[in-house]
């Protein structure tokens, strides 16, 4: 049967259901399911997926430690040669789950791990050092290519074959340095690079510097009883009917909505446009996503100075980092013009 593999997928690819089943607890089934079929076809008789573990994305992310422990136990029972998770593309919770399980398997069971996801998936930054993480497209349209690369890496890891560079194999750099023999010595390579740079030609660094994009914490508000507080959310809260038609995923815009005269959000005046979580609870009572009712009461009792007349909202589901930055910069300008002092930002 060749190499023995265990595969991890979410409730959607496991055929259990969509967002309404995202709280599905981990389950192990024998054989392949969903994208595992493509993997198995790519392996031929060189490897066998002995079992598949299915877990709901919300279940995993709301119970990271407990879920990891259960899943780890399921994998341990199988004692595979290689563990594969995903690919998760741009599904954030799925990507985090794939990365977290890979990290746990690699560290606790010492089994090689492969996963795949889109570069902007939050799971990528969090876990790319802990697994061979194939860089995929942002949607499952790139499944075939992702499967090919994941399968090739898994076979190499299972047979102990040497793994090539991130560029050659299609995985994200893990920050691992390996000695190689170059024809030219370092001084010559450096001078060659400098000359190219002076000529305006393209150069490829041998050691890319890590990028840290951090913002220093802002000064706290002195007294919230005097502060004007604004609400911003990536959970997709919108007035009933979603007047701006904010997309349920990969949002191209944000909305600015008046809450003047609204003391409580209800099924009549609010809903969520977000397509990345089960909307039932938000649609019943949108205060569960943006706490307008409480902030209104606090405004009346003097616990806060005032609540800004508008809330700002977009859908964080699959929305690109560039768009999010652009939305937030525009929102911040508006907050500045409105003399807002501090912001409560909620995410789902």
């Amino acid at each position: 049967m060749g190499i023995k593999i265990v595969h991890y997928i979410n409730q959607f690819y496991g055929g259990i259901g969509g967002e309404d089943k995202a709280d599905y607890a981990p389950e192990k089934i024998s054989g392949v399911k969903g994208p595992g079929m493509g993997l198995q076809a790519a392996f031929g008789d060189k490897a066998t997926i002995s079992s598949t573990i299915i877990c709901g994305d919300s279940y995993f992310n709301e119970n990271i430690e407990a879920a990891t422990e259960v899943i780890l136990e399921m994998i341990k029972e199988e004692n595979p040669d290689v563990f594969i998770a995903g690919p998760a593309f741009n599904a954030g919770r799925y990507g985090v789950a794939c990365g977290a399980v890979c990290k746990a398997v690699s560290e606790n069971l010492n089994i090689p791990v492969v996963t795949g996801m889109y570069i902007e998936n939050p799971g990528a930054d969090m876990y790319k050092k802990n697994a061979y993480m194939v860089e995929t497209t942002n949607s499952a349209a790139g499944m075939k290519d992702a499967i090919t690369k994941v399968a090739a890496l898994a076979l190499k890891l299972g047979t102990g074959e040497a793994i090539g560079t991130p560029e050659a194999e299609g995985y994200m750099a893990r920050g691992v340095r390996r000695n190689i023999i170059c024809e030219d010595r370092g001084a010559k390579r450096a001078v060659d690079m400098l000359i190219k740079k002076i000529k305006g030609e393209e150069i490829v660094t041998e050691y890319p510097m890590p990028t840290f994009d951090r913002v220093d914490p802002a000064e706290p508000v002195k007294d919230v009883r005097k502060a004007k507080i604004a609400i911003v959310s990536s959970g997709g809260p919108v007035p009933k009917g979603n007047p701006d038609h904010i997309e349920s995923s990969s949002a191209s815009k944000f909305g600015k909505y008046s809450i003047v005269g609204i003391d409580d959000l209800t099924p009549e005046n609010g809903e969520t446009a977000h397509g990345g979580y089960d909307p039932v609870y938000a649609n019943q009572d949108l205060d569960r996503v943006i706490p307008v009712d409480i902030l209104r009461e606090m405004e009346k009792s003097g616990e806060i100075g005032s609540l800004h007349d508008f809330y700002y909202s977009t859908v964080g589901n699959g929305t690109s980092v560039n768009n999010s930055k652009k939305f937030a910069a525009e929102i911040a300008k508006d907050l500045l013009a409105s003399n807002v002092d501090a912001v409560i930002l909620t995410s789902t």
Partner: protein
């Protein structure tokens, strides 16, 4: 979004359920919440208890906005 708004000088408190994601994206004041589909509520509770839970979380968030921090802090 948290980062871009904070860049303009506003203290931002991020209320979210998956704290590791919030840390990765660079939020500086973080309040862990209840669940992904209902960060500030719990449909299993009575309306009164649910509102009390939400009040507690908002109070915690306001406290965080009043607290000086020098690094990413989970309250």
């Amino acid at each position: 979004m948290v980062k871009e708004i904070e860049r303009m000088g506003f203290p931002v408190v991020h209320m979210c359920t998956v704290v590791p994601i919030s840390i990765t994206v660079g939020a500086n004041r973080i309040i862990p919440t209840v669940a992904i589909p209902y960060p500030l509520g719990n449909p299993a509770m009575t309306m009164v208890d649910e509102k009390e839970l939400r009040r507690k979380l908002v109070k915690k968030a306001l406290k965080a906005l009043e607290t000086p921090v020098t690094e990413q802090t989970v309250f």
